[in-house]
Symmetry: C2
Subunit: 113 residues, 2 copies
C-alpha cells in the first residue's frame, strides 16, 4: 500500500460493506476485488479481512451462505443485510464529515487563523 496503514483504521467495515452492497462475495474474492478496483492501492490481508467478516456477521450486518457446488473447496459467501445497508449509509456520512474536516484543515489558506 502507498500510505500509512493507520489511515485505514475505522474505514475497513465501510469498505467491506460497500463491496458487498454491490454483489455477494466470499472472503478471498473480496480481497482480490478490493485490490483490483483500486489498482493495488488498497489491500486487506487475510488476518484483517476474515475477522472483520466474522464481526460484521455477528452484528447482523451481513449473513453468510454456502453456494451449492460440486467441488470440495469451501467458499463462504457473504450478503449484506438491510441493517448493513443502513449502517453503511451512516458510515459514509461519517467519512464525509471527517474527510471534509481534514480538507478544510489541510487545504486552508495560510493567512486564515
Amino acid at each position: 500500500m502507498k500510505f500509512n496503514k493507520e489511515l485505514l483504521k475505522g474505514t475497513t467495515d465501510m469498505i467491506v460493506l460497500k463491496l458487498l452492497s454491490q454483489q455477494d462475495m466470499y472472503g478471498y474474492e473480496i480481497m482480490k476485488k478490493l485490490k483490483q478496483k483500486t489498482d493495488n492501492i488498497f489491500e486487506l490481508r487475510e488476518g484483517t479481512l476474515y475477522p472483520i467478516l466474522h464481526n460484521l456477521e455477528s452484528k447482523k450486518l451481513i449473513t453468510s451462505y454456502c453456494q451449492p457446488t460440486e467441488s470440495q473447496r469451501k467458499k463462504i459467501y457473504y450478503k449484506i443485510t438491510d441493517k448493513g445497508r443502513k449502517i453503511l449509509q451512516d458510515k459514509e456520512v461519517e467519512w464525509k464529515n471527517f474527510s471534509e474536516g481534514i480538507s478544510k484543515l489541510m487545504g486552508g489558506i495560510a493567512y486564515e487563523n
Copy 2:
C-alpha cells in the same frame, strides 16, 4: 466529535504539523485552535496531544522554547522545523492518495465491476 475516533488514527501528526506550520503555538493553544478552526468537529484531548508533541520533538520535526513572560504559568511553545515541513508534505501526499482511493471506492457507480 461527530465521527468514529478510529478515523483519526494516522492523521494526528499531520494535523499538528499543519497547525504549527501556520504559527508557533503551545500545546493548549493547539487544542483550542483545532476545535475552533473546525467548528468543534475535531478535537484532540490532552492525553493525545501532549504525547504527540513530545514524539514529534524527539523526531526533530518540531522544537520547543519558552516565551519570556512575567507570569508564573508554564507555556511551552512549539515551532516546526525544516524536516517537519518536509514530513508534513509527505503526509499530505499520503492523505491525498488515501482519500482519493476511498472516494474512488465509495463514489463508484453501481454497475462498475
